[in-house]
């Protein structure tokens, strides 16, 4: 029986089998390396080193496919002598279809070339730059989940009798590992940006008054400010420019995001400085206009500034392209018409000051366009007149500021808020 079970394997088949086992061993080893790191540089050097060793190659390189340029560019090169990596990195660009790598990228098929001199597709540029002599090479496309990532090349391999299927499998795994490390890098970058935005948002909040309410004599103010994004471009401030005087600023920076937030911060600090020195609201806006004109990129600020006397109720108002304020008296609710100049920071201008007297129990509502430009689900806008009408209907309500914000919130339910929103109430008891 035992004799019957003896099988004789021809020496050639045995060697092939041994090579297969060897190849599988390499596959497992490289798989382990691939899953050991998400660092792209480390991953590439480890895999290239290993592959170079297994194939007995003199050098190997990876070219990444740049989707924007639609070209291949050298990313890493490992060779025995010197550091060709730095010579080639990002400097040699190949069109799709150009050279061996370009051919592989175009056809998404590997190429095995024992003598490049006999192959007209071979591109000599890289050798000329590095002084390296390419004799033969194996080039394989690196194809990830989203398509071509690049091309890997083994230069002057010691052997050509390898299992192409296993090699392709390996390259596929390698491609996915590269994709994973790209994704990891992106997520780290996103996290870093998120943290920076958190810091920017906290810094920006510090430019707004510590408390959203403030009182001086018979005058009181309260504000609600909501940013559509983490950082916003709306501004409001309460100051006491002189004894018994309450200054209230509301403004809206053009644009959104970090640039608008930085501009808001500059406007806020300039306002604090200028408002402590200039007497009338018009003069404050004149000064702020000049200070903001130096800011780049066409950014501007619409603003309304009022200074009210806490004893007499006299209010001086100046406006720079900002939506008018709404006056609530015992008899009526109406839009307060005041002289207005262009937004701040655009052209030299002189801002007029308008004077009114706030009677006891009267209120002024200041707002930014985020209130009336709010969109509903069908894209319709709330509208300034509708806001005035809403205030008219709720003129006796104590917390009108909160009610306006709730109205905007109801109106834009189911949509993402596109703009910052600020409502400030100035009231004389």
């Amino acid at each position: 029986m035992a004799d019957d079970a003896m099988v004789t394997i021809p020496a050639g088949s045995l060697r092939a089998l041994e090579r297969k086992v060897e190849s599988f061993k390499t596959l497992v080893e490289i798989s382990t390396i691939i899953s050991s790191t998400l660092d792209l540089e480390e991953l590439m050097s480890l895999v290239m080193e290993k592959a170079k060793g297994v194939m007995g190659a003199e050098a190997c390189s990876i070219l990444f496919y740049n989707r924007d340029m639609q070209k291949l560019e050298f990313e890493v090169a490992v060779c025995e002598e010197g550091d060709a990596s730095n010579i080639l990195k990002k400097k040699v660009l190949l069109d799709i279809g150009q050279g061996i790598a370009g051919w592989v990228a175009e056809h998404l098929e590997p190429l095995v070339i024992e003598d490049v001199k006999k192959d007209p597709r071979f591109f000599q540029g890289a050798d000329k730059m590095t002084g390296f002599e390419t004799k033969g090479l194996i080039a394989v496309p690196l194809i990830g989940r989203r398509g071509l990532i690049g091309v890997a090349e083994m230069v002057n391999p010691g052997r050509f009798d390898f299992d192409m299927e296993i090699f392709r499998l390996l390259c596929r795994q390698f491609a996915i590992a590269i994709e994973n490390s790209f994704a990891h890098k992106e997520s780290l970058e996103r996290e870093r940006l998120r943290q920076e935005l958190d810091i920017a948002a906290a810094l920006q909040r510090s430019f707004l008054p510590e408390s959203p309410t403030f009182s001086l004599g018979d005058l009181s103010v309260s504000a609600v400010n909501i940013s559509a994004a983490k950082v916003g471009g709306d501004i409001y401030d309460f100051v006491t420019p002189a004894e018994g005087k309450l200054g209230v600023l509301i403004g809206d920076v053009s644009g959104k995001g970090v640039s608008a937030a930085l501009y808001m911060a500059k406007a806020s600090s300039d306002f604090r400085y200028i408002s402590s020195r200039a007497e009338s609201p018009g003069a404050v806006l004149d000064g702020l206009n000049a200070a903001l004109s130096r800011y780049p990129r066409g950014m501007f600020l619409t603003a309304l500034y009022l200074i009210a006397d806490s004893a007499k109720g006299e209010a001086l108002i100046a406006c720079a392209g900002h939506p008018p304020c709404i006056r609530i008296t015992a008899e009526e609710v109406r839009v307060l018409s005041v002289a207005s100049g262009p937004p701040l920071g655009i052209v030299p201008a002189s801002y007029e000051t308008t004077s009114i007297t706030l009677g006891r129990g009267e209120r002024l509502i200041l707002l930014t366009d985020g209130v009336f430009d709010a969109k509903d689900r069908s894209g319709g806008r709330l509208g300034f007149e509708q806001v005035v009408e809403f205030i008219r209907r709720h003129r006796d309500e104590e917390d009108i500021v909160r009610m306006i914000v709730d109205r905007v919130s109801d109106f834009s339910e189911g949509t993402e808020w596109a703009d910052d929103l600020t409502v400030v109430e100035v009231r004389r008891r």
């Binding site: 100049g341 655009i346 300034f384």
Partner: protein
């Protein structure tokens, strides 16, 4: 937004259509600022087919205007639809920009 740059009697005319907002204004900015960088003496912007403009869109024209002022260049807006004109009036931007009804008026102005 679509930008179509035409030439009318030697003056570059930006014929815009669609929405000028955060997303589309960078493309407009690079075209406009390239022209202003070459010190174009006059630039027309045709608003006839513009459906919406936000403050970042307006900021693009403000930037162009501010860059043209030092060399005496003129930025003229024309064919501004009523809805957009409302925004310009409301925010007193009509005091900032030269606004004309059509190309002929802009040439005369």
């Amino acid at each position: 937004m679509k930008i179509d740059i035409q030439e009318h009697k030697g003056v570059k005319v930006f014929a815009l259509s669609g929405e000028i907002d955060m997303a589309s204004s960078p493309a407009l900015r690079s075209e406009l600022m390239a022209l202003v960088g070459r010190k174009a003496p006059v630039v027309f912007v045709d608003f006839k087919d513009v459906s919406y403009i936000d403050s970042s869109g307006i900021a693009t024209f403000v930037e162009g205007l501010k860059a043209m002022m030092p060399y005496g260049g003129r930025l003229k807006l024309l064919g501004v639809p009523a809805k957009i004109m409302e925004i310009f009036n409301f925010s007193k931007l009509d005091k900032v920009f030269e606004i004309y009804g059509n190309v002929e008026d802009a040439f005369k102005g």
